[in-house]
Symmetry: C2
Subunit: 505 residues, 2 copies
């Protein structure tokens, strides 16, 4: 009879081997998006599918389940927030969840999502929601079955949300998002009614791409992203990929005449990247060395992108550096001007182009609609109308077509139901953390003006990164902030910053 310690060692070995495969899969995907020759596409797609299957088999096999179950009844599981205890708790939750979903549904979802994504690409191009609708109906029907199989307390959405934001319930998510929504709407209105205009022309001047790359790397590195353990490459849709401990890869895209696009993508991805670099590498591939949730991950990217990178004091420090690299474009620009330019706010139709104020309303619309679709308060054929009405109601604008309305995102066709709220949870968590760090460290903005980001990063390392997935997001944030997460610090931040820029109190 092996001891619990023996079993735990076996679990660690198993996880190490899984991490070798997962890391290879990550590199294959990174490469696919950054430099793979086009003729390699078909083989790579088959290869990635093989790796998915291989990894899935390793973490759903009965032998693996027995190991987890044995550990779950051992003394090692007693402290459920210890490294060992949280490992067992999280892996058991994941294993039980996976095993509850009938294989037939998993297989059908894979097939249906693949077809739905092809249909989505064509339908978005053709502005044809009607052809896409049956695919969406099938996906929501299957997701209802998944939720029923997994089980839930309050709402079928609980079971889906749990995949991305473990242990968060629908009522708790909605409480946070509805508070945010109601407080955001008057801010959006105040911005719209303001006569002030951001001097965005500055950002459309000529910023040579090679220099943007060099400059972005420098800023990310000053911010604390360690390039001896990472890279920065170019891609169509920016992402951050963890290839292994000590190998965290950022990607961005550049437009010579859109300065903010490349830089803020880099700061966003570097935010994700510093989180990955701050995880404990001795627990790589296991919960104590893994990110807590998608929401917490997004809190790190949004914190560095928006709360640091779009702050007034950041530009106090950064503008002289930027002028040295882009003298022609920036010689006549003041810190106050560029600060306003990168903080322009106005309601728009496309989520991924939305600013810091309006972004969360895009997310909240999607979250509300996907909950209504899931519990059938809303029928798929009525979705475009509901979408457009919600845009009018929350943002005061109506999409001119389904292509720039309900068909704009890949998520639903990819089966990602319950994923959207993690974006806004990230923004909420980011402001909670920033306010707590500001209080603990005293005057972050003054530090930024001197280019000092290390104290903030250290605070995040200790309170967030090094905690890994030892506890659920809400507990992690509460421990870090000594208060439960709420939307208030975010609203406070937006009111202060945008109140000053657009002259409202």
């Amino acid at each position: 009879m092996p001891t619990a310690e023996d079993l735990f060692t076996k679990l660690r070995d198993h996880a190490a081997e899984t991490s070798y495969l997962a890391s290879a899969s990550a590199l294959l995907q990174w490469d696919q998006q950054t430099g793979m020759p086009s003729a390699g596409e078909t083989f790579r797609a088959d290869q990635l599918a093989y790796f998915s299957t291989l990894i899935h088999e390793r973490t759903t096999s009965p032998e693996y389940g027995e190991m987890i179950d044995s550990l779950a009844t051992s003394d090692l599981a007693k402290d459920k927030f210890s490294d060992e205890g949280s490992t067992i708790r999280v892996l058991k939750r994941e294993y039980d969840r996976e095993r509850k979903i009938p294989t037939a549904i998993v297989a059908e979802l894979t097939r249906v999502e693949s077809l739905a994504q092809q249909a989505w690409v064509a339908c978005r191009k053709a502005n044809d929601f009607k052809t896409f609708a049956p695919h969406l109906e099938t996906i929501f029907r299957l997701k209802r079955e998944v939720a029923a199989a997994i089980g839930y307390v309050h709402h079928p959405y609980d079971a889906l949300l749990d995949e991305y934001e473990p242990e968060l319930t629908t009522p708790e998510a909605n409480r946070l998002l509805e508070g945010l929504r109601d407080a955001l709407r008057p801010i959006v209105q105040a911005v719209v009614q303001s006569p002030n205009r951001a001097p965005v022309e500055i950002l459309h001047r000529s910023y040579p791409i090679a220099l943007q790359h060099q400059f972005g790397k420098h800023i990310a590195s000053q911010m604390g992203f360690a390039f001896h353990g990472g890279r920065l490459d170019t891609t169509a849709h920016p992402f951050c990929e963890t290839v292994g401990p000590g190998d965290i890869r950022l990607t961005t895209r550049y437009d010579e005449h859109l300065f903010g696009s490349g830089l803020y993508s880099i700061l966003h991805e570097a935010g994700h990247g510093t989180y990955e670099q701050g995880l404990r590498s001795n627990w790589y591939g296991l919960p104590p060395g893994s990110a807590c949730s998608l929401g917490v991950h997004e809190s790190q990217s949004r914190l560095w992108e928006n709360l640091v990178g779009r702050s007034r004091s950041f530009w106090t420090w950064c503008l002289p550096l930027a002028k040295a690299v882009f003298p022609d474009a920036l010689h006549d620009v003041s810190a106050e001007q560029i600060f306003f330019a990168v903080n322009e706010s106005k309601p728009s139709l496309i989520r991924v182009e939305a600013d810091e104020v309006t972004y969360n309303l895009h997310i909240i619309i999607r979250t509300e609609l996907e909950q209504e679709l899931l519990d059938e308060r809303l029928k798929v054929p009525d979705l475009p109308t509901a979408w457009n009405e919600r845009y009018q109601k929350y943002l005061g604008i109506t999409p001119t077509s389904d292509a720039n309305g309900v068909l704009q995102d890949v998520h639903w066709s990819a089966g990602l139901i319950g994923y959207f709220p993690t974006y806004s949870l990230g923004n909420i968590y980011a402001s909670c953390l920033f306010a707590a760090a500001d209080k603990a460290l005293g005057g972050l903005e003054a530090m930024f003006a001197r280019g000092e980001f290390a104290p903030l990063l250290e605070w995040l390392r200790k309170n967030i990164h090094e905690q890994g997935q030892t506890r659920p997001a809400a507990t992690l944030i509460e421990n870090a902030c000594q208060a439960k997460p709420t939307h208030e610090p975010l609203i406070e931040h937006l009111r202060t910053k945008y109140g000053a820029l657009y002259d409202f109190a």
Copy 2:
């Protein structure tokens, strides 16, 4: 009872899965050499070891062996040069070979080679053969055990050579190499005694690296390497890596003041690359879709590098293109001058820097010495003296230290015994193929002068690439050339080219 066809389908599925793993391992290695962040090193090394083990297990398991054995007695194996028959024949040879080597020896070799390589790096730096000697003794002792376990007809070297050049025997390899050696020595002497000097100063002018990269890609692409199925990157030690069908990656290195180094590395690796691109992708991962042997692989790289890229007519075509890219460096240079410059010949100590005439003598020295070490005619402590004497005898020069003598190559410390001759076999095969293609197509040089490389590539596609590993190298070359391989076409080529450059008949 499954039919042979069923079993063969199972074998193909098995090979496809193995190829997904092998391709991931190839990408991990390519990435390690081209762009991996330094902090990723330790994890990557462990990960690559895991992939090796995983792949090794897949192709040495008893179940796999039973499948191969069943197929070997089926009708599909009857025509041993058919696609199915050669698949079975080659895989059975490989399986049997692997199974004969005791696991304990494999494990000890892995351990010993790892230590030997570390020792080699340090000893080469310190010019300290004495400390390295015990490592080399252990490696040769273990290799003797490997050879004994595998079995051989003529010489223990047969069993080692077979890994790199399947089915070639030691007497046959020696017949080719000794013929070459004896014919080369008077050519080297004639070159040394000639008063003519190549105008190498041309190559040391300024060739900006970004332009070298662009130019090298263009030439490789004109030569027939298809970049929609490949890439070109920079590395410390150039190589060509097959990541998958449709994904063949070349690497090179550049020196602003050494024009030939980058360009000829590219042509060399692109030669390997066109071979990989010409293999039948429907047999990817199996012998009919794999390269025949290391010697044949090297024949393709050397053919494009030396017989095409260092020909007079290549420069007739290429110089105007080069002048357009490097006008400052090349404005006063004639085709005849650059042709001579890239064909400078003189005896030198370092193999990897050797020219087309002297290179094979470096290889022959190593091949002779490793055979003598293996059968204990030569003892390791006497190796440096033997090495230096052989250099004096064949090349007329004596190493000034062991660091630029016997310690210069990584091969022996890496356990690569029997690998060296494949370099010279490649040169021999290349000239046999070139002469046959020239005869079949009529006047290759006139085509090169017009930038026409497609007829030669087509001929190689049909006679070499598409044949894969359906037959052993000697048969493949004999079929292609309608004559058994000999050293004579290579000697004929060198005598003609260097006779003209250095004024001897």
